[in-house]
Symmetry: C2
């Protein structure tokens, strides 16, 4: 049995303590480089695979410094601070001839049971089966690695301006395709599956890129195991587009109403 | 005329290219270390003061690795990637005997005029003059360096649980005290003035700390200049508190309705 394409894309071979080699895979190719969610998952995986890592992911920031090229890369995780309740990590991804293409920071934390409170609740959505799958044929490869069932938010983009401004908000069900039990690396990638909001708002293709992405993991291992391979409820929106940059925020909810992760990014656009 | 206390706290003496020394000041002292917003502003200032820096701040992430002690510190900014539209920076703050206490990443970008769209709008609030100032006497020093005019959100915390769960949301006017014209460093600090949400929700003091903070700057220099020293409209909320960690998000709006910055953080709490 061959590996899931995500595990294939996240395969890291150790070169030294905390230093790994990997390579991009065609399944997750985007426009001019690999899907940023896989890069985020690789940053996380370099930490998870480090022998000194303790605890589960709490937060990660990924800075997309330069386009990642097709082919091999190296990724190195360094433990900056080993505290009682958290570990702080720095990660750097490099490619021969390109230098540093991605930097990241990751915080891991001990699993603890504490006082808990759900300040926010997910919206009521029809069940996944009641929502048709988005057609990803003929689009950037990575889109076909996910099953999107979209209830709100434009999913088709024109080559010319449609002349109307639309909402930046999306509500959808999303999961890996083929199905795969949820883990933190998959969750890190899913957090970046929310298409750059300016495409929804303007309705046509303009050059875009994610500049920096921060994801907070609010679930323990048990919550991910409970969710398994079923679709997650995803919400995304943006607040402002100005001076060539925009923000966007996303939430990923388990289908039992537990918030698994929140993710924020700043995106670059031209024109 | 003496400097504004914020400029005093942000004073950096160059040691080498991109390496500076500074020291904590009592005015911005918090419970067990300096106010995190000043640390965030120092991370930004180390980049802004670097001779190779081009463009204005777009994004910053600050990881609070360990408590910053009273006294001197060093802070170093390193240009990781110098791209056409963005520069990517890594910053590290160290203290003798404590090692690395803070890490950060900063993205700067060229000032550009592009298509713009305000997807979100601020709520209508009564003008600052109509809202009484929060009394900060007898509380952690840094609170007195800001003028808070709070319309929504608990501001007084008990030593014992009041037994009621309150909302995590705040709406307020906020600015530096004494007044100071807005700039990016001040904005970076203001983004962290939203008290850790668990205190609002539970209503009493539990040990808390910000783990990681990311702020996106959506305004150009001209927008900051237009705002000047007048109060900003601040909004903050949180989504989930679980397993000893919680998220929170904040928005800072100019009084003309322009979104100046959004900020997200993950916080640690005990019990």
């Amino acid at each position: 049995m061959s590996d899931h394409p995500l595990d294939e894309a996240l395969r890291l071979a150790p070169l030294d303590v905390g230093r790994f080699s990997g390579r991009t895979t065609p399944e997750y190719w985007n426009m001019g480089g690999p899907f940023g969610g896989v890069t985020a998952a690789l940053v996380l995986k370099a930490v998870l695979d480090h022998p000194e890592r303790r605890g589960r992911p709490v937060a990660q920031t990924v800075n997309f410094c330069a386009a990642v090229g097709e082919g091999p890369f190296e990724i190195a995780a360094r433990l900056v601070r080993d505290g009682r309740s958290t570990q702080h990590w720095q990660v750097e991804m490099t490619q021969e001839g390109r230098g540093t293409v991605t930097t990241g920071s990751v915080v891991t934390g001990a699993e603890r049971q504490t006082w808990a409170h759900a300040a926010a609740a997910p919206p009521q959505l029809p069940p996944p089966d009641a929502v048709p799958q988005m057609d990803t044929a003929g689009r950037n490869a990575w889109l076909s690695q996910y099953e999107f069932r979209v209830l709100e938010g434009r999913t088709d983009f024109q080559l010319e301006p449609p002349g109307e401004i639309a909402s930046a908000a999306s509500r959808l069900w999303v999961r890996d395709r083929p199905e795969r039990p949820l883990d933190y690396a998959a969750l890190a990638a899913l957090a970046d599956t929310f298409i750059v909001r300016i495409l929804l708002v303007r309705g046509y293709f303009v050059p875009v890129a994610t500049v920096s992405l921060s994801t907070y993991f609010l679930a323990d291992e048990a919550a991910l195991a409970r969710q398994g391979a079923r679709p997650l409820l995803g919400l995304a929106d943006a607040r402002a587009f100005r001076h060539g940059f925009a923000d966007q925020s996303a939430e990923l909810w388990a289908d039992n109403g537990t918030l698994l992760a929140v993710s924020h990014q700043v995106t670059w656009y031209r024109d």
